[in-house]
Symmetry: C2
Subunit: 241 residues, 2 copies
């Protein structure tokens, strides 16, 4: 049910392919066989359902009551929130196969607004149902613990690499290699990357201006580390990034 987005500019191209369940961040929780030796299909039990969204659609709002975790089976999204000054601030991006909403567990409210960057598809997992199941199935609880720890580990890695970066170029390098790394973890093409977000969003996220981002990209291109044409980035040398 692909459709043209009404509001945001988005070339009505073929919808990017779905990720294989096997490669999804939610898989450890969904996979039936992992739940001990009792056959128990979480995906069926919790009526896990796929939900299409269009580019620009808001998946959840900052301060909304926490209900569900969302796995992006196709497309991508941006996380943003309002800073003290009342300005919007990009705090992260969610890529195909990744999980969103975990950061609402602690407070019971989503700390950010999640907006689809392109036409995307979501797997919706009501969290209270998941917990109910976990109460009955200790191995499932273990999987959730594992899931959360992996997630916070990923968050810490990004934070660290971006905070370690002193110059703008280093930040951009860190950003690109982080994206590539995440593609690798999801068994996706990590050499030819499509940055579905705008330059302004990336710059905001990295704490630099879009102008210096642009300059850094051309620099990386001159150094033969990447090839950049519009939103598509070809990574020539990931190691040297």
């Amino acid at each position: 049910m692909t459709s043209k987005a009404s509001m945001p500019p988005q070339k009505s191209r073929t919808l990017s392919s779905h990720i294989a369940c096997r490669d999804c961040a939610l898989y450890p929780v969904c996979e039936p066989t992992t739940i001990g030796n009792t056959a128990f299909d979480i995906a069926e039990q919790l009526l896990l359902k796929k939900h299409p969204v269009k580019a620009g659609d808001i998946i959840y709002h900052e301060a909304d009551r926490f209900e569900s975790l969302y796995a992006l089976t196709s497309g991508s999204a941006k996380e943003e929130c309002l800073s003290k000054n009342g300005e919007k601030q990009i705090v992260g991006f969610k890529l195909k196969g990744e999980l969103a909403g975990q950061n609402a567990i602690a407070t019971g409210h989503y700390p950010h607004t999640l907006t689809a960057l392109e036409d995307s598809t979501l797997c919706v997992l009501p969290f209270h149902k998941l917990l109910d199941s976990a109460n009955a199935l200790p191995p499932l609880a273990m999987q959730i613990i594992k899931l959360l720890s992996i997630d916070s580990h990923h968050e810490a890695k990004i934070r660290q690499s971006l905070m370690t970066a002193k110059t703008a170029e280093e930040k951009v390098r860190a950003f690109i290699s982080n994206i590539a790394q995440r593609h690798i973890e999801r068994n996706l093409n990590s050499v030819d990357i499509r940055l579905s977000m705008s330059r302004t969003d990336i710059a905001d996220y990295l704490g630099i201006t879009k102008e210096t981002l642009s300059r850094s990209l051309t620099l990386l291109q001159q150094k033969d580390l990447i090839e950049s044409s519009g939103k598509n980035i070809h990574i020539i040398d990931l190691l040297r990034l």
Copy 2:
């Protein structure tokens, strides 16, 4: 068994008071009554033991095999790791009453080195024993899930406020109010704060030089937001920070 530190400079002052168990980050897991209606004292079951360390002592090394979580019942510590360039990088600080080591759960290895900043005391919680107990007690598993989600929420908050900060002064403001906030959460004095770490460590953590940190502190002092004398900071106006 307090003693003079051999290696690092640390005035042999009276050891800072222990935090009340009630105010410790580990309390939701330790507290016996919360574990359903069965009387089960995790602290006793897991032979939770207090362990004193001296200023400069390393609690765990980067890449060490993950064994235990550590709650700082007194004192403070710094988290650091080696960046790609081979240089040490401060990635965080652990204050009295806080938990350390959670970020090792995902990989099974500590991602950072944790070093005591002053004479401190630790509560050591062997994680595999905790998981064994959780496998038998679903409510305990729920507490662990909660603990991890709270932790990652805290990490996200710091990251966000530091990344949002554009200028050096904003970073320093964010740092100080974060420390104050964490004191509040642990029911500690949040007006008179002792920054046990060096200026160099703080600057490294914030991604600025110690010189600009120093200048920012004097600026904040001139603006009557704080009073700074050495490692002691008196917060005059937390809201305006």
